[in-house]
Amino acid sequence: MPKRIIVKMGDLAVSDQEGDILTSVLGSCVGVILFDRGSSLTGMAHIMLPEKGKGMSEGHRKAKYAAPGVLALVREMVEKGARRQDLFAKLCGGARLFGENSLQNIGERNIAMTRAALRKLNIPIQAERVGGETGRNVSVEVGTGRVVIRVAGGQTEVI
């Protein structure tokens, strides 16, 4: 039976069961989705913050901060049999919901730090839907690699 796996803020999940769905709701958070060219292994990390600032706690979540989160996801993919050089990524999220002049722009920094972490590991980004001013409900289908993005109001896009 295919499962629907909710990837909560700061968490990550990996599956190779075709038909499984990995899903997250992203505002300023960034969803990193990794695929393995040689298998159906698919993983998603729900990055909360760009980096660990002064006085911030490490916490128990594997994907709380961008660089360690990407690394943890790569490790889990490799442990389950993916070849590191066969990994590629899709990126979603990092929106600025309250428009300009309000709050900081964590979304933008989340995107920048996540991209940098992927670049450092030589993992190409095949597609992305990042930034903007709307939240995204992202669902990845294991096996097909289809990433379905829904925004409030019902519009849907597949990358």
């Binding site: 709701v25 909360m48 006085g55 706690s57 709050l103």
Partner: protein
């Protein structure tokens, strides 16, 4: 920011502070909407940040949210959040139905932001009065989006990586009407402790 460490008694005091703040906010709503308001008893929950959204409602539902940062002697955060049905109920009172079209139009959002502003000002001035702390609301910001996306975005901006947060939630109803939204008060550990100490001292 350090982790939130509060005992039951402190949470009770904070719930009472939220109760007084909400009471004043409801009174200001009565004037603004020209109808009686019914308040639910404020809820206080200390939960991991990633679980706040699901405590409030369906993470995927679209909400309209007004946010303001509270500055002054302590820093806090207020959110006024409405489901689409809440927003419709509110706008039906505020705007002439003939004049308005439904949707996230600038007029509709600005009427909701103004309602949030009125609620926040009353809430903050009540908390300021009972604690003796000087508190000033910042300009309100408004967003219409999925609940989980909105709540998490605000939480991440304010929680600075802490694991848990205390949410003080009050639901508002108009007399004979469905809900017209709820107010959430969030603050950091030191700010919450200071609030408790100041109120206890009196």
């Amino acid at each position: 920011m350090s982790e939130i460490v509060l005992d039951e008694e402190e949470v009770d005091i904070l719930r009472e502070i939220a109760n007084i703040g909400s009471g004043h906010a409801a009174a200001s709503m009565e004037k603004w909407l020209e109808r009686d308001m019914v308040l639910e008893v404020p809820q206080a929950f200390l939960v991991p940040v990633e679980e706040v959204a699901e405590h409030i409602g369906d993470p995927l539902q679209t909400i309209i949210c007004v946010y303001t940062r509270v500055e002054g002697d302590i820093t806090g955060h207020l959110l006024y959040s409405l489901t689409l049905d809440d927003a419709k109920a509110l706008l039906d009172i505020l705007l002439d139905p003939e004049d308005r079209r439904w949707g996230f139009s600038p007029d509709n959002l600005s009427a909701i932001a103004e309602t949030g502003n009125i609620l926040f000002s009353a809430y903050i001035s009540a908390v300021s009065q009972i604690s003796g702390l000087e508190l000033v609301p910042g300009p309100p910001a408004c967003a219409a989006d999925m609940l989980e996306a909105v709540v998490n975005t605000v939480l991440l901006e304010i929680c600075e990586g802490s694991e848990h947060t205390l949410v003080l939630e009050t639901k508002f109803h108009g007399e004979g009407l469905s809900s017209v939204g709820y107010v959430l008060f969030l603050a950091e550990n030191e700010a919450l402790k200071r609030l408790v100490q100041r109120v206890e001292a009196d």
